[in-house]
């Protein structure tokens, strides 16, 4: 489906944010869900590419969604070159969302993983849940949306591997420190929602099980269709294979068999 680009802004050397109109024919997205985007009519690249819904809002009778993307290849380069008023081809929303239940939410993002977590933060704040965010990246230019998170009222800590912004280290160090400093009683109330590179998610999963907190992880697999047709995006869980695009992309850390 063709949707009109309303705004496309460069945020850093390789990150951009795009706002697109959200047609009434599409269901309203949930935090954690994604869309499948195509920028060319040629058959190369062949597949659509998945992007998490970064934000969603309604104004009067119309709605719009935001995508936050890191420019890494042909589709994201095309997106970066798309001007307001032009359109992109988008299907969705697909997949399962994050868990909005729970008393206290900790959002943990690595690099472009902040994309779906910002939308989650917005919904959680509307529901007046207690929350905090921990954002990490290799360097300052990969740490996105920190001010925006603080603006909507989400306390946000930052870590970079080279120390160029916030604490030097990994975002999982922030998580470990946070979990260490609180009582067993409080840990029971915490839901960790995380999105980022696989190595980071594995560490989040390890910490969640060590401290006995619930964790929901948004995984990144290659996807040909994004909607359950190809069975290509399988993830190994304790009960067998699951499709990342249907049962996921958000999974309970404890069902994954890594």
């Amino acid at each position: 489906m063709k949707v009109r680009v309303e705004e496309n802004r460069r945020l850093s050397a390789d990150f951009q944010r795009m706002r697109v109109e959200w047609p009434g024919a599409l269901p309203e997205p949930l935090p954690g869900q994604f869309v499948m985007v195509r920028t060319r009519s040629s058959t190369d690249p062949l597949w659509r590419r998945p992007f998490g819904v970064h934000d969603f809002s309604r104004r009067g009778g119309s709605a719009s969604a935001a995508l936050l993307y890191q420019v890494v290849g042909p589709t994201t380069r095309d997106l970066a070159a798309t001007a307001a008023g032009e359109s992109i081809d988008l299907l969705g929303p697909f997949g399962s969302g994050f868990d909005l239940r729970g008393k206290e939410h900790w959002l943990v993002a690595g690099g472009r993983g902040v994309a779906p977590l910002f939308f989650l933060a917005r919904r959680l704040i509307e529901g007046v849940r207690s929350l905090r965010a921990m954002i990490g990246g290799c360097t300052e230019s990969h740490v996105m949306q920190v001010e925006e998170l603080r603006e909507i009222g989400c306390p946000t800590e930052v870590a970079t591997e080279d120390g160029s912004l916030g604490r030097r280290g990994m975002v999982t160090d922030l998580l470990a420190g946070g979990l260490e400093g609180i009582s067993d009683e409080r840990r029971k109330d915490i839901v960790v929602s995380a999105c980022g590179p696989e190595g980071m998610l594995r560490r989040v999963s390890g910490l969640a099980s060590a401290y006995a907190v619930a964790a929901r992880l948004s995984l990144d697999t290659l996807m040909a269709c994004g909607q359950g047709y190809c069975q290509g995006c399988t993830v190994k869980t304790r009960s067998g294979y699951s499709l990342c695009c249907r049962e996921g992309p958000v999974f309970d850390a404890e069902v994954l068999s890594w």
Binding site: T43, L222, C225, Y229, Q231, C233, Y241
Partner: protein
């Protein structure tokens, strides 16, 4: 005034209101396609290849994108024939979908039992026998790459069912015509061609195969010329109706197959990218017939001039 063209596809004992089907393994169990159009508008839906027992399939990574194509090594993951009949078929029937069941076995006996079980089920319009999947080590490839084995599988299924029988051929052979003749000798009513081409891709950074299974099946626009060639070779080898599949992205591509001799076509990989494309292909074929002053699809089938 434009006269509506007759799009009826005649496949021996099987007649479909239009010639555009969805290919096995590219539309799950069909129900998943509903958001993109009423299922009864599709010529027929060929559901994911079914085996006797449910099958987990291959470990990930199972897919990789290639130039104008993709490799897959799904490994025939499926819910099993009983679960299909119980959980999926009733819903498909309710929606008015014409359902073709694609089957595969590891042994002749498994093919026989599948044919028996499906032979008795209401609401299936044909069986498509997959003797051509390159992914399961002991299965398809062996049967479909050998004329005698092909004939034995088709005979085994034919003995157990009176339903319209389609046999799906692999391009990974030296002589497609020979296998086509064997399938027809075994009792096939029509042939579907092609299944995926065997391929391989290497991740140069990790120096590992891109697919966990090492080898996979190539599909998508990249294989279309090979598929049209196979269809044409089968056309010259056997008299039964043929179904063309491989890299169809739009109506123009479907027309290539039809002109080369296909009575119907299947859309595969394109469903992943444009899930509603089948409708445009139906309309495009109809428009073509009208533009060329033809009143029915059968006038176009095999109209290739050399």
């Amino acid at each position: 005034m434009v006269v509506p063209a007759d799009l009826t596809a005649r496949l021996g004992p099987l007649t479909l209101p239009n010639p555009v089907m969805l290919a096995s393994g590219t539309c799950a169990y069909g129900l998943e396609m509903e958001p993109y159009g009423d299922l009864d508008g599709i010529g027929a839906i060929v559901v994911k290849g079914l085996s006797l027992e449910r099958s987990e399939g291959n470990p990930p990574p199972r897919i990789v994108e290639t130039p104008s194509g993709m490799l897959n090594s799904i490994g025939l993951e499926n819910i099993g024939v009983e679960a299909f009949l119980r959980d999926k078929l009733p819903l498909l029937r309710e929606k008015g979908a014409r359902v073709i069941v694609n089957i595969y076995g590891q042994t002749l006996d498994e093919y026989r039992r599948l044919a028996e079980i499906l032979g008795g089920a209401e609401g299936i319009c044909a069986l498509e026998v997959n003797i051509s999947c390159p992914n399961v080590k002991k299965g398809g490839l062996l049967f479909g790459q050998d004329g005698r084995e092909t004939r034995r599988v088709v005979e085994a299924v034919r003995e157990k069912t009176a339903r319209p029988l389609l046999v799906k051929l692999t391009p990974n052979v030296t002589d497609v015509g020979e296998i086509a003749r064997a399938a027809v000798d075994g009792g096939a009513d029509a042939l579907t061609l092609i299944n995926t081409l065997q391929g391989m891709a290497v991740d140069v950074e990790s120096r590992r195969p891109a697919l966990a299974n090492v080898l996979g099946g190539l599909s998508g626009p990249a294989i279309r010329p090979v598929a049209v060639r196979c269809l044409w070779q089968a056309r010259r080898a056997v008299p039964v109706p043929l179904i063309g599949v491989g890299g169809i992205h739009g109506a123009r591509d479907a027309l290539e197959f039809i002109i080369a001799g296909a009575s119907a076509v299947q859309l595969g990989t394109v469903n992943f990218i444009y899930p509603g494309r089948w409708r445009e292909v139906v309309e495009g074929i109809e428009g073509y017939l009208q533009r060329h002053g033809m009143t029915s699809l059968s006038q176009l089938v095999g109209s290739l001039e050399i």
